[in-house]
């Protein structure tokens, strides 16, 4: 990555840019929280942040340390219970963007946060599980995923579908009755993947400055396709970097 900023910073900035001002965003734990708070601090002051802990319109002036950080409730437009946030806000399709992280993701955008290796009853590695993600992935109008691109994380097919992307490919979401459009972008530390409208397979359609196709291939577990001319993403502006680094101290504490 170029001088002056890290690939993680570029990833967070690119993810923040994906959130338009005024939209409602259901914010997952971890990387999504950093990116959506950055968006609110820069180009999207009216972004509505919704956390599964029950806060609608949280306006933290520092990065929350967890989804239960008191600053979310103190600054929110409304504080509601967990059944309400899922049943009244997410399920009817009121949320514009579901913003998720992933442990493992496949070429159809399906997410695994349940097990790696072995089988379900005898996993080699037991991951935390679903949390709110399956229904966020199902019912948000669209989904954005932010995840570091590695061969371990980017696999041909996930071992366990915790949250459905495009399932087996075209037509799966419709067949399952999932109302949202599903994952529209996967933002990584190398660039941005978007789904091919015909095959639903994710392809690299944008690259960060200085990232080669070979690097992308090395860090992807399937035979990844590229846009004919991938867009080159502009590096972070000084405004974005300053805002992001102001968050950094609290971000460190949360990792």
């Amino acid at each position: 990555m170029s001088d002056g900023y890290t690939s993680d910073e570029m990833m967070t900035v690119a993810a923040a840019r994906a959130l338009s001002d005024g939209t409602s965003c259901f914010v997952g734990i971890g990387l999504p929280s950093a990116a959506s708070n950055l968006a609110r601090a820069t180009h999207a002051p009216n972004l509505v942040l919704i956390y599964e802990s029950g806060t609608i319109g949280a306006k933290p002036d520092r990065l929350p340390l967890s989804i239960g950080d008191g600053i979310l409730a103190e600054t929110a437009d409304a504080v509601i219970t967990v059944p309400e946030i899922f049943n009244y806000w997410l399920q009817p399709g009121r949320i514009d963007v579901g913003f998720l992280g992933a442990a493992q993701i496949d070429k159809f955008g399906n997410i695994n946060t349940t097990i790696v290796g072995g089988d379900y009853a005898h996993p080699k590695v037991r991951l935390p599980g679903a949390g709110g993600a399956p229904e966020i992935a199902a019912s948000s109008k669209e989904v954005i995923v932010i995840v570091r691109q590695t061969r371990r994380a980017f696999v041909e097919r996930v071992e366990f579908i915790t949250s459905v992307g495009f399932g087996d490919g075209p037509g799966t979401r419709e067949k399952l009755g999932l109302r949202g459009k599903g994952p529209q972008q996967i933002i990584t530390d190398l660039g941005i993947l978007t789904p091919d409208p015909r095959t639903c397979e994710f392809a690299m359609t944008a690259l960060f400055e200085g990232v080669s196709r070979d690097t992308v291939r090395e860090r992807t577990g399937w035979d990844i396709q590229f846009a004919a001319v991938p867009e080159v993403i502009a590096p972070p502006t000084s405004h974005e970097l300053t805002a992001l680094r102001k968050f950094k101290a609290s971000e460190k504490a949360s990792e």
Binding site: S53, L65, V79, T81, V82, P83, Q91, G132, T162
Partner: protein
């Protein structure tokens, strides 16, 4: 009417070996002190229910209290894995742990059904996920009006709910505020309920976002200041983020964990409430 008793008595009376126990508090008001008392009284064969079995359930599982876990997200928030939970699932230490796994939406709806006296709840969820295949308490159901296929989840009706709140009055009426999670539903779904509180006051003052549980819906109230630590009680205490980070190396190793149990739960220097 709720009895106001010391925590040790509430746990001794309400929590029995083999019970199904729900300790709730979603990222806030987590009933740590009560969980520690359950470990201290060496309860066994519990079915533990919790949406987010974080550090408190890592401690209960590592101490051998649990036979089964019903949950939707098992991690140390902002830190990483629950090592005791993982050791139990991956290696059966200190004993095998059966799991029944859901999503947050599913768990929340299961409590709502339980509190409502219904056998199941209906939601748009789980379609196409592996959870629908591995979990018996998730089943497709056809809407009798539209013919649409939705998902049913079985109600939760625990033997005991345990929660922490900011205040109770002298009649055992309970008030909690801030992030209210799923505690009201958990208490109303359960046969018995223990509420630990920061403070017992003469009269409850109405608060924005408050959840009030009438004393006759609660079995026991115990005064336990800072009883959510390292979680917090909005208006009273702050979340102890360092504790969550310090937990990671303690829980990583069986011996270190056993030493922690001896020192902090069973030992003479442990804080008895």
């Amino acid at each position: 009417m709720a009895e106001i008793v010391p925590l040790a008595q509430a746990v001794a009376d309400a929590v029995h070996d083999g019970d199904t126990v729900a300790m709730e508090g979603f990222t806030h008001l987590i009933p740590f002190a009560a969980g520690h008392e359950v470990i201290r009284q060496r309860r066994r064969d519990l079915t533990l229910i919790r949406m987010t079995p974080d550090v408190i359930y890592d401690q209960l599982i590592g101490a051998g209290c649990a036979r089964k876990l019903v949950f939707s997200w098992g991690g140390n928030p902002g830190v990483g894995s629950l090592h005791r939970f993982r050791d139990a699932v991956e290696h059966g230490w200190p004993r095998p742990l059966e799991i029944e796994e859901h999503s947050h939406a599913g768990m929340a709806n299961r409590y709502v059904a339980g509190a409502s006296g219904l056998p199941f709840a209906v939601l748009r969820g789980y379609a196409g996920t592996g959870l629908a295949e591995v979990t018996d308490t998730i089943k497709p159901i056809t809407c009798p009006f539209s013919g649409e296929t939705l998902m049913a989840v079985q109600a939760l009706n625990p033997d005991v709910a345990i929660i922490h709140a900011q205040q109770a009055d002298r009649h055992g009426n309970v008030q909690l505020w801030g992030l209210a999670g799923v505690q009201k539903e958990a208490v109303l779904a359960s046969r018995r309920a223990i509420v630990t509180v920061e403070e017992i006051v003469d009269e409850l003052q109405p608060r924005p976002t408050a959840v009030v549980l009438p004393g006759w819906a609660v079995s026991y109230v115990a005064r336990v200041p800072n009883g959510a630590h390292p979680s917090y009680a909005s208006g009273y205490t702050e979340r102890d983020n360092e504790y969550y980070q310090a937990w990671d190396p303690i829980a990583r190793d069986r011996e270190t964990f056993s030493g922690w149990l001896a020192d902090h739960i069973y030992g003479e220097t442990a804080v008895h409430r």
